[in-house]
Symmetry: C2
Subunit: 519 residues, 2 copies
Amino acid sequence: MKHEPIGPGRFAKALAAFRDALGEEAVIADRSGLDDFRDPFAPPTGDWYEPGAVLQPGSVEQVQAVLRIANEHSVPVWTNGQGRNNGYGGAAPRVSGSFVLNLRRMNTVLEVNEESAYALVEPGVRFFDLYDHLRAIGSKLWMSVPDLGWGSIIGNTLDHGVGYTPMGDHMNSQCGMEVVLANGDVLRTGLGGLTASKGWHVYKYGCGPAIDGLFSQSNYGVVTKMGVQLMPAPDCYMPGWLQLKKDSDLELLLEKLRPLMMDGTIPNQPMIINNVCGMSAFTQRDAWYTGEGPLPPAILEQISQQPMLGAWVMRFALYGDERIVERQREIVEAAFGTIPGSQVSFSKYDGHNLPELDNPHERVQAGIPSMALDQMTRWYGGEKGGHIGFSSATPITAVDGAAIRDLVRKELNGAGLDYSGVFIVGKRNMIHVGLVVFDTEDAAQTEAAYSACKAMVKSAARQGYGEYRSHLDFMDLVADQYDFNNHAQRRFHEKIKDALDPNGILSPGKQGIWPEGYR
Amino acid sequence: MKHEPIGPGRFAKALAAFRDALGEEAVIADRSGLDDFRDPFAPPTGDWYEPGAVLQPGSVEQVQAVLRIANEHSVPVWTNGQGRNNGYGGAAPRVSGSFVLNLRRMNTVLEVNEESAYALVEPGVRFFDLYDHLRAIGSKLWMSVPDLGWGSIIGNTLDHGVGYTPMGDHMNSQCGMEVVLANGDVLRTGLGGLTASKGWHVYKYGCGPAIDGLFSQSNYGVVTKMGVQLMPAPDCYMPGWLQLKKDSDLELLLEKLRPLMMDGTIPNQPMIINNVCGMSAFTQRDAWYTGEGPLPPAILEQISQQPMLGAWVMRFALYGDERIVERQREIVEAAFGTIPGSQVSFSKYDGHNLPELDNPHERVQAGIPSMALDQMTRWYGGEKGGHIGFSSATPITAVDGAAIRDLVRKELNGAGLDYSGVFIVGKRNMIHVGLVVFDTEDAAQTEAAYSACKAMVKSAARQGYGEYRSHLDFMDLVADQYDFNNHAQRRFHEKIKDALDPNGILSPGKQGIWPEGYR
């Protein structure tokens, strides 16, 4: 059955039903109230992705009520935890006029298990909230956080977000979900299927298919609880920096880094940051240059020469027994010492008695949430600066690193934009994030940024590199690139979607997955 | 539509069509040829799980042909790689008379990537085959193997099997699948969705839902290719043994072991082995005792006192830089040294120049496949010995370890059987495998073994412990225990099943998942 656009009559009836079920305070429909749920970096002109109203249920039962009403009235709901995924569209829905199902009010840390080192959280729990909770109860456990701490832990995890401790692959560090399906049924994954389960948050697979991944980057259910693995504080915490002089040193580094990642010598997720990106954490562009077009080579060189910067710098950290950490430091120094002109430096802390850390990079690698790096979006536009992410996954090799760097730089420079980029390095892969930064009040620059991003998606795919995440505005385009066997992945996603959500109410269009009525 | 039992007419027509499509040599239907595809440890009397015929396609196209014909004739196919999963039913199908879709002929190692350390294999590739291939091409990479090396790597992984190197969580060490769905469509997961993909076997998630887990322990598709992560040979390989005097030392050990697992001091998957299980690798029971009923305490004590045994012994290993490994050894010795009467011992090898290792435990922890531990099934029955596995996942704590040990021992001893058990310890959980060993020619003992296993499934679930795998004969019973919200997991599994396989041809009953026509 073809989906009918949501007319004002249907919208009003559904809105009234939601108000009845959730109470007035849980429904936001006035224009100013909706501002926090728009794409914060939307272009200044033209139609964009507009929330119709916002629903903020306070319990699993209220989530079930929302889905029941959405099915009855055939209106789409667009789910998020906090809705702070700003480089990818924030809380805004793919289908304008959707009800945003925002879970900020479900913000309880339900359990902390000190022995097996995990927490059970609701989707409104921010990284800040869990951190505060752990400190308040005197827990000795560390958590993993992304660069900005204001997001939902569940939301970030489900979008395959990353952090920078040894548990930084957040999807891999989750264990055990509770999910409300589109039909209102409440499912627990893995060993959570046992009513009396003792292993829900320590063993991932249960018996039968492992289904947790199905609820990540999808529109197949609303995750209402999730187990988050934590780690005991290490005896020794040693954050390090590697500064590289030349752009091409990136390639030398990647070949040295790969074996150190694979064997765990470096156990966290290092971030390799280019000159512009590094500097954008501290200053705006006009402190360096006020001309048009990308920064000239001489200015880039000047930025690279600033203290603690370089053509590239890598932040990383070591954790554990002091003697093991000291030996890892020697191995790392020996490996990176072969890169001409490079500099390695470390700080060293007692993990059980951390001092107040000033450097946000040292904080984030110790799992302490922060908002310091939010500055980066102000490169061009000050308070009105924005960014979108171009985020590709590749092997950790010189060839792949150079290829994706050159591709992104060429497209950005071609659009008149500076190349601001990082590589986030995992055990077996790395993600290159091109931070496409622009002034949201500059229509031409914003338009150029979006166009450049879309061009990169296509040229990267032709070279074999796929996006791991995407902004609302090019979710379809990204899905289009996954073309093996005439888009077998899309056919599969659609088949599951139709089976689980026959009325197509849950987040239509998320990651290019459209319910039958919209196709 | 209700599934009709496969009558001889329908069977014969389907068989003829399979012969036409695959060729005579790829279809086994004679009684003696089928012997290798029966449950090797079936009870001596009564109906059991009988293969109708065996299909051995040699290519993805032939797998597609098999599924097309199965759909046309509405006959079930039961998939396995090698079909060597002997403690759980071997190659035998859940529904007697099914066509066994056995993938032994698809046995090519398609790629070894030395740089990013992975292999791409077909489902007929055994652990032995990949090992031989790696040595033949001069690869420096190590693999992970389970105790018996004759199984399919893909089959073992999909059944959530484990190995004993740092990559021993096989499902976690897989990256990127190709799957033939019931309708014949060929899907590649993750970044494999990009036709030109460079990251298929290094990055797990792709863009959109992470679906790989869906094809494990399920009947949703036939996996025809899979990426297997390997590891560079470590500078130093140090297998270790810990011997514990008393049964209750298990509890002391678990509390010492948990933090060492969580922080990676012990990076592989240790196995804690009880006295009977340890001895069964070397001798049969009648060398110790010929009486009825479980071994008396004095005999158990005598076995515990044999060289390299104990009430419990733990095998484990350290890998990497020699100085780090030496420090890990000190930490391990200090931790375990607090357990009265315990003994820790180590061997030490150059990982780049391993000698011929005689001890099968040292081999398996270096990823060298072996069949040495197959001896264990001969405890009672000699050549006709068999076993079934009772396999529960729990947290790594003294309380949980004691509870599951006591539960299994009580049921086994109550059935007149010896308690033979191991704990396989992961980073955050452990699996207690009760090795339920019996003489397959002794009808009463075999019957007692199956009954005890089923009783354990139920009493473990009541205490909150779930099976992670199960024999054909109690797949339904295990699925029954996953009862949260009136069996929401089962409803979910069935919904996916019906969407992907509307005719119910793929492995009906696998892990308690039945197609609509059989429910």
